[in-house]
Assembly symmetry: C2
Homo-oligomer: 353 residues x 2
């Protein structure tokens, strides 16, 4: 293989590593922020009633029925909505539409670990903004970079940045702000209105978490029409398949089901948070479907991660100076939460070697 | 809107225009090379039996079950196969993995009209290689560009380039050759083995046409492991949804169904080709599921396109000096072929004004 066949920046690239997806094994899976409850019965019905003969025809290229429903939900025009093959596709398209080759991409550190990988794929620089030891809001400079990925609530830290701070940043920032609201349905406040107020702001949502549709790969972004139009130009011709479009529409027609699941997860989160605090954990105030916790001094985060794994419980551990003292735990269903707490109790008592 | 929010090259970009997809109207749709016959009953069964509860979990990030089946079908390793969200995604990924910012992308002119759009999205130069008036093979120079998209059989011209010529080109070309075999299941020869023989060759296939799955967005590429690995690095984390993976696998487990449909289309193609030749059309020797035809002198291609549209029949017309004398007609089912021939007869007799 002549290495020059492959683009130089790609040769050196380290791909994003998704959370482990064990197949067939019996594990309590609290590592990828999946929803423990099934999607709406309307989604199941849409799946069962999908007309297989339509599979032979190309789908609507811009997911217009889904866009129309989203415009209705968010009180905006269809021209303000873009639907992607997962919110990951939207993020990648933003790196192509809003960043010159000489530009750069900003994000908080720590935040979603995909962002620096997307910048590397796009072969542009990164401008990480370091959060302090308590992961609080830091105001990025107005001319820091071309595109800023602002996760709110933030991952993996689970905390929400105050909306007033986010808005103050959007007002002064010279580039495009993408507010990544992947977890916002579990939070007390959202920033959707900022995307409709400011010409340089996009608000990103996903159906993966709150709508229990991670397998379906549907995300969407709302913002000013010229930004949406730019994304349309750089997307693949038919970026969302016909089945995903039909099922996404069904899910968005049953917001009540999503809300009920989200409330159930929020209630579990309060219980789990209190129980782990009792165990001596430092639990960040979560507005997501996961907890960001620092275990008590008796055990390191890495050790806790390893021992939970031995107990058949997968959580997520991000090594490194900023994140290496914490683990991220997805809020599971009632049984999974109980299994986690039981395992944590055994581990802290020294019963798991 | 401050235009500088959007990347300069994107501001000037003209998006790819897919063939019209009328919804709800009663038309004979022969404009986007869709298969007139339904997908395998195994696909329908996989759809009906899909476990909706798995939708809440992330899908396999690299479509490994589909890759394993493809490796089996093509007698290669899993590391030689990449599965994309439609072959369009694979093409776009190739522009990112195999072309430096200073590089360029080559293709025949005329060929698939998406290629120059992909080069514009990637913001690199293009090196079109002009086919002659009869659309025959032309050998591109060995150092013409970084990546050459070689559609074989070619679209919209329907003709197959000789494999010996393709191989001679692959042997001498310094960059990556992507042989786009979107239509190869309707042809008498394929180039899959070249992808397994040469380190710089990829062979691209799609399930959209021969497998009757355009709505599903599944394409794949076979080639040397380092090229496949580069594509893996630059793809979205979960590029293919769980339903598409399950249905693609079902389709690939029933190659016989695909072959039977392809043979039926090939038989219709012979009939339609003969009938249009009788009407005075110049019909290119097709090895695809469409015909590339020049109407008799009495009517221009544009006029024929417009009048067929008035008759409720959609075909495809590409204006321009190279393509503007022809129309592209997808091979429909028996009724659609009859409707087309009846309309052509009326138009040529002057019954359609």
């Amino acid at each position: 293989m002549r290495t020059e066949l492959i683009k130089g920046s790609v040769r050196g690239l380290k791909a994003y590593v998704p959370g482990e997806q064990p197949e067939g094994q019996k594990v309590v899976k609290l590592n990828t922020n999946e929803n423990p409850y099934p999607p709406s019965p309307q989604v199941v019905q849409a799946l069962q009633q999908f007309d297989a003969d339509t599979l032979r025809k190309y789908p609507n290229p811009s997911s217009d029925a889904v866009r129309a429903r989203l415009a209705e939900l968010h009180g905006c025009g269809v021209e303000n909505v873009f639907v992607g093959n997962g919110s990951d596709e939207v993020l990648a398209l933003c790196t192509r539409a809003f960043v010159e080759d000489s530009g750069s991409i900003g994000f908080f550190d720590p935040s979603y670990s995909l962002y620096p990988v997307l910048a590397a794929i796009r072969d542009v620089g990164t401008c990480p903004v370091e959060l302090d030891g308590t992961f609080q809001w830091q105001m990025p400079a107005p001319d820091l970079c071309s595109l800023f990925f602002l996760t709110n609530p933030n991952a993996p830290t689970s905390m929400r940045f105050p909306k007033a701070d986010v808005e103050a940043f959007c007002e002064t920032f010279k580039g495009v702000v993408l507010v990544d609201e992947a977890y916002v349905d579990f939070a007390s406040e959202h920033c959707m209105d900022l995307a409709l107020k400011y010409q340089n702001v996009l608000t990103l949502r996903t159906l993966s978490k709150s709508y229990s549709l991670a397998a379906l790969r549907v995300g969407y972004v709302v913002g000013a029409a010229p930004l949406i139009e730019a994304l349309m130009k750089v997307k693949d011709s038919y970026n969302l398949d016909g089945v995903a479009q039909a099922l996404a529409l069904a899910a968005l027609n049953d917001v009540a089901h999503m809300r009920a699941n989200a409330e159930r997860i929020i209630a579990s989160r309060q219980g789990l948070s209190a129980a782990l605090t009792e165990f001596g954990f430092d639990v960040s105030p979560s507005e997501t479907n996961f907890l960001w916790v620092r275990p008590p001094a008796a055990i390191t985060a890495q050790d806790l991660f390893d021992k939970l794994r031995e107990c058949g419980i997968l959580v997520r551990y991000f090594p490194g100076p900023k994140t290496g003292q914490h683990v991220r735990i997805t809020i599971g269903d009632e049984n999974e939460v109980a299994a986690l707490l039981s395992a944590v109790g055994s581990i802290l008592k020294g019963d798991v070697i």
